[in-house]
C-alpha cells in the first residue's frame, strides 16, 4: 500500500508547503493601507503610528455578544487602546415608560436584560411597591426569590456556555444550554413564555405557580449540581482554560470600586459586596447562602465566582421550595390588583375597580424610590419618580452591564487581541440592557 501525499500548497490557501500559515505583513505599508476604506479625504489626520493597526470588531461579530462595536488599536498583536461603541440596540425604554402605567412597564423590563427577564420584573415591581408603600404577601416574597434565582441560573449558564465557545471549548456550551432549557421549561410552565415572562405585577405576581412546578423545580435542584460538577471538572483545571483566563483583565478592588462595577465583576476583585446580603430585600437575609469572592480580579476568578454563584442559587432555590407558604399571592387591595374576571363580569363593584385600573392605572403618591437588586449581571437599580399620576415622571434603569462594560478599555489595555475576547466575555454583557 503506497502512502498518499497531499500538496498542501495547492489544497489550502494561506498555508505553505510545510503546513504552516503564510505570514501576511501587517501594516507595513503605513496609514493608507491600514486605515479602512473611505478615509482618503482625511488628509490632515494626525499621523497614525506606522506599526499600529486599527481593527474594527463588530457590531456583527459572534464574540461581541450582540451588537457591540469595538474599535481596537493594535501594536502587533497587543491592544493599545479600545474604544467601545454602544447604542445599536437602543430602544428608548425609559422614554416609553413615561407614557405607560406602572403595570404596562413590566413587559418592557423583560426586554432589557433578556437573559434574566424574571429578575428584571422583580426589580421593577419592588421599586413600584416601595413608591406606593405596598407590602407584598409572604407567598409572593418566596415566589419572587425563586424567580430571581432561576434567572441567575440561566444567565450564568448562558454566560458560561458562550464564554467557553469564545475560548474554543464547545462541550460546556451544550451542557450549560441543556440546563438552561430545563429552567426555560419551568418558566414556560409558570408564565406561558420562555423569554418575555412579565411574571410580576405591582402588588403580586402574574399567576401562582401551577401544579407540577414544585416537583419539577425540585428535580432540577437535585440534578443541577451534577452538571455543575461536570463543568467544574472540564474547565477549572483545564490547561487551555486556565492559560487563557488567569492573569487576564485583572482589576484590583480599588479599581473595581472606582469604576462602579457590581455583581460578580466586583466580587471577583475581592470586594465582598452582595446586595442580597448587605442590603437585603425579599427576606434574603433569612436564607442560608454564601457569597463567593475572588482574589485576583481576572477572568478566571470571574469564572469561579459565577460557577459558585450557580451552586448558591441552587441552594437558595431548594430552601425557597421548602419554605414556600400557602396563602394568597397578591395583596388584598382592589385598587392595585385586578379582580378575577368572573367577578368583574358579575359584580358591580369589582367591575368598577377593573375599569378604573385598566383605564386610569394605579396612581403612585408624589415621591421617588430607588431599589437595587442583585441581578446576575450586577446591581440592577430601578429609580422611579412620581408626580402623583399613574405614569412615572422618570423611570431610570441602572444598567449593571453598561457600567461594567465601561471598564473594558481599562481592562484590555496591554493584552493580546485574543485576550480582549476573553475579557469582553468575562464582563457578561447583554446589549439589550447596555443600550436599553
Amino acid at each position: 500500500m503506497t502512502r498518499r501525499t497531499v500538496e498542501l500548497e495547492l489544497a489550502t490557501p494561506g498555508v505553505d508547503a510545510q503546513g504552516h500559515p503564510v505570514r501576511v505583513p501587517l501594516g507595513a505599508a503605513g496609514p493608507a493601507a491600514t486605515a479602512p476604506a473611505g478615509t482618503a479625504e482625511a488628509g490632515d489626520a494626525p499621523p497614525f503610528p506606522e506599526q499600529h493597526m486599527l481593527i474594527n470588531l463588530g457590531p456583527q461579530h459572534p464574540a461581541t455578544h450582540g451588537v457591540l462595536r469595538l474599535v481596537v488599536e493594535l501594536e502587533g498583536e497587543m491592544v493599545v487602546r479600545v474604544i467601545p461603541n454602544v447604542g445599536y440596540l437602543h430602544s428608548g425604554f425609559e422614554k416609553l415608560g413615561e407614557y405607560r402605567h406602572y403595570n404596562q412597564i413590566i413587559p418592557l423590563t423583560d426586554r432589557t436584560d433578556y437573559l434574566s427577564p424574571m429578575a428584571n420584573n422583580v426589580g421593577f415591581a419592588l421599586a413600584a411597591e416601595r413608591l406606593m408603600g405596598i407590602e407584598i404577601t409572604p407567598r409572593c416574597t418566596v415566589l419572587r426569590v425563586i424567580a430571581c434565582e432561576m434567572s441567575r441560573v440561566i444567565s450564568h449558564m448562558v454566560w458560561l456556555g458562550t464564554t467557553a465557545i469564545d475560548l474554543g471549548a464547545f462541550t460546556p456550551f451544550l451542557w450549560a444550554f441543556q440546563e438552561r432549557e430545563r429552567i426555560y421549561n419551568l418558566q414556560e410552565m409558570w408564565t406561558g413564555a420562555r423569554l418575555t415572562t412579565s411574571v410580576t405585577r405591582v402588588g403580586g405576581m402574574l399567576a401562582d405557580v401551577p401544579d407540577g412546578f414544585g416537583p419539577g423545580l425540585r428535580h432540577f435542584t437535585e440534578t443541577f449540581p451534577n452538571t455543575l460538577d461536570e463543568l467544574d471538572r472540564v474547565l477549572t483545571r483545564n490547561a487551555v482554560w486556565v492559560g487563557r483566563t488567569q492573569g487576564i483583565g485583572a482589576l484590583t478592588a480599588a479599581e473595581a470600586i472606582n469604576h462602579s462595577l457590581s455583581g460578580p465583576m466586583l466580587r471577583a476583585s475581592g470586594v465582598p459586596y452582595d446586595l442580597r446580603r448587605d442590603k437585603p430585600y425579599l427576606d434574603y437575609d433569612s436564607y442560608d447562602f454564601d457569597v463567593p469572592v475572588g482574589e485576583h480580579g481576572d477572568v478566571y476568578d470571574r469564572y469561579l465566582v459565577r460557577l459558585e454563584e450557580c451552586r448558591q442559587a441552587n441552594r437558595i432555590l431548594a430552601q425557597a421550595l421548602e419554605r414556600l407558604p400557602d396563602g394568597p399571592v397578591n395583596v388584598a387591595d382592589p385598587r392595585v390588583i385586578l379582580p378575577a374576571k368572573s367577578r368583574a363580569m358579575n359584580d358591580m363593584e369589582a367591575m368598577i375597580y377593573h375599569f378604573k385600573q385598566v383605564m386610569e392605572g394605579v396612581k403612585a403618591p408624589v415621591g421617588e424610590a430607588y431599589v437595587g437588586i442583585e441581578n446576575p449581571k450586577g446591581e440592577l437599580g430601578t429609580y422611579l419618580v412620581s408626580d402623583g399620576t399613574a405614569k412615572p415622571v422618570r423611570w431610570r434603569i441602572r444598567p449593571p452591564s453598561f457600567i461594567n462594560l465601561s471598564a473594558l478599555p481599562k481592562m484590555a489595555e496591554g493584552h493580546l487581541l485574543s485576550d480582549l475576547i476573553a475579557i469582553n466575555a468575562s464582563v457578561d454583557i447583554v446589549m439589550g440592557e447596555v443600550d436599553r
Binding site: 486599527l54 488599536e73 447604542g87 428608548g92 422614554k95 492573569g247 472606582n258 470586594v271 430607588y370
Partner: protein, 205 residues
C-alpha cells in the same frame, strides 16, 4: 434622616440647600458650582466614606416651572449608608456641571448618557460624546419632556437621513482620533507597551 446631612451642613454650609426624604432615602440638594467639593468631601472624609458611585441620572418634571435635576446616588460599601445628592439646573439656562470623572472613573459613561439624553454638559469630562444615540443625531435630547415620543423629525425625514448617512465616515481615523491620543496614555502603560509585556496580576509577586 441620614446623619451625613448634618456633617455636610457643618462643613460646607453654604453649598447645601434643602434636604428631603422620600421612601426612606435622604435627598440633599447641592449648589451646582460646589458639586465636586461636596462629592469629594463625601468620598474622602473617613467618617463618611461614600466610596461607591451607584448612579448618575437626571430628572425633568412634567411641570415646566420645576428645574431639571441631576441625581447622584452614593453608597458607602463599608457602612452600607446611601445618600442621594441632587443638583438643580434651569432648563432655559446653560446646562453645565463639573464632571466627577476625576473622582470616579465609573462616572465616565454615566455622564455621557446624561449628556446624550438630557443635554447636560460636564466640564472636564475626558470624552464627552453621545453614547446611545449616534454622533450625528440632530433631533435633540430624547429624554427631555419637550421631545415628542416618536422623535422630532417625521418618519420620512428620518428615513431620508438614514439613507443619506455615510456610515463609512465613522470609521475614519479623523473621527476616532486614536492616534492623537497615543501620547496621552499613562507612562507606565507606554513603558509596558514598549517592552512588549503582558498585564500582570495585581497581587502576584
Amino acid at each position: 434622616m441620614n446623619p451625613s446631612v448634618d456633617a455636610l451642613r457643618a462643613t460646607l454650609g453654604s453649598a447645601i440647600g434643602r434636604v428631603g426624604e422620600s421612601c426612606g432615602d435622604t435627598i440633599v440638594y447641592v449648589a451646582a458650582e460646589r458639586l465636586r467639593d461636596v462629592l469629594g468631601w463625601l468620598r474622602d472624609t473617613p467618617g463618611e466614606a461614600y466610596d461607591y458611585l451607584v448612579d448618575i441620572t437626571a430628572v425633568e418634571y412634567r411641570d415646566r416651572e420645576r428645574p431639571l435635576e441631576v441625581v447622584y446616588s452614593l453608597r458607602s460599601l463599608a457602612r452600607g449608608a446611601e445618600l442621594r445628592v441632587k443638583v438643580e439646573l434651569d432648563p432655559r439656562g446653560e446646562l453645565m456641571l463639573d464632571s466627577v470623572v476625576p473622582l470616579w472613573q465609573g462616572a465616565n459613561w454615566l455622564e455621557r448618557e446624561v449628556y446624550d439624553m438630557f443635554g447636560v454638559s460636564f466640564r472636564g469630562h475626558p470624552d464627552l460624546r453621545r453614547i446611545l444615540m449616534w454622533e450625528t443625531y440632530a433631533e435633540g435630547y430624547p429624554l427631555r419632556k419637550d421631545f415628542p415620543l416618536r422623535g422630532r423629525f417625521s418618519r420620512a425625514e428620518q428615513v431620508r437621513q438614514a439613507l443619506a448617512a455615510n456610515p463609512e465616515a465613522h470609521y475614519s481615523l479623523d473621527e476616532l482620533s486614536i492616534a492623537a491620543a497615543a501620547a496621552d496614555l499613562p507612562t507606565d502603560m507606554q513603558e509596558r507597551l514598549r517592552r512588549g509585556e503582558r498585564g500582570t496580576l495585581p497581587h502576584s509577586e
